[in-house]
Amino acid sequence: MSNRQKELLELLDKSGADLYALLTKLTLREDVAEELMQELFIKLNNSRGAGNVANLDAYARKSAINLAFDWRRSRKRAVLATRQFDEPVSNDDSPLRKLIHSEEMQETLDAVGRLKKSSREVLVMRYLQQESYDDIAEQLGKTSHQVRALCSRAIRSLRDVLGSNDHQSSKEIHNVANR
């Protein structure tokens, strides 16, 4: 067994569950998260660049975030074509509430996917994985202040994106109602 595989198995033991949870949060589907998890480790195993990184855990998290948002983008194209809805993930029992929450989460994740890469990573680490600013700063090679500023900017950008989405949605609803 090579050193790389040993490192990856250690990473899997240490952070496998976290990575899977992260992928589940970003895709809202466990089956897709499992597939992306496979893909992530295969890529890490085949990637020559991964051998030079100092923090394999942080590298894997960033790769997982990128994989998940790549999947969301490809899925969004398919959904736009077929208008199919995934099974909602929510703890609420009311079907309507469940649907609304699911739609909101999908919308939020889509909006996060439209942010810049640095903003997206910071947002996911801070607000989805609930990591501290210091930990994020260490993983990204930035200072804590820079990470705070990045978070603030990311939230503002997300607000703009979601606001424009709401505006478009209300316009579409208005158009449909007028027909």
Binding site: S2, Q5, L9, A21, M37, N45, M105, L162, H167
Partner: protein, 215 residues
Amino acid sequence: MSQIDENQILDRLKRLSQVEPGQETTDHAVQRVRDTLIANKGCRVGLAPPSLIGRLMKLAAAAVLMIGAGFIGGRLSAPEPVNVQELQAALENSLKSSLVPAIRQELISQIDGRWQSTLAASHAQVKDELARQVRRDLTEFAAQTLAASGTRTEQRLMELIQLIEAARVQDRQRMASAFDYIESRFGNGLVTLAARTDELLDAERVGSAPDISEN
């Protein structure tokens, strides 16, 4: 434009952060990755890349193997010495089957070409001959038509003259009979009228003449 505030965004993100996969599915996913990693041991790119000499050695070995395999395959698949008669017959059949259709096709195309050139050469001659023949026939037909029409016209004119002559004779006869009838009915009266008219004319002539004797 923005209709969503920061608290709502944070609330959504918090809800997203609370999404957790089940323990069973997590274990399954991790185990699956582990199995994949273990099954792939030793065959990944993660191993040290082979050196250039090693690659060349591999390429050379592959080339030697290919050449050897080709040589052995050629020797094994080489045909045994064949009978010349059979070979000749086979060649003859093969040539027949391949050449006869081609030769037939070539002949057909050559004959077609010759026919076409011959027909093209005689085409103009036939055309001239045909034109001359048609012109001659037309001229003859026109002459015959003219002669026939002249004869018919002359005949019609003669008939017309005869008709006119007959009509004149008939008119004269009628006039003569009319005069005879008038003479028989009014013969004396006419003579009397003529005498009286003559007298009246004489009298007028005398009365209107100037009296020269008085001068």
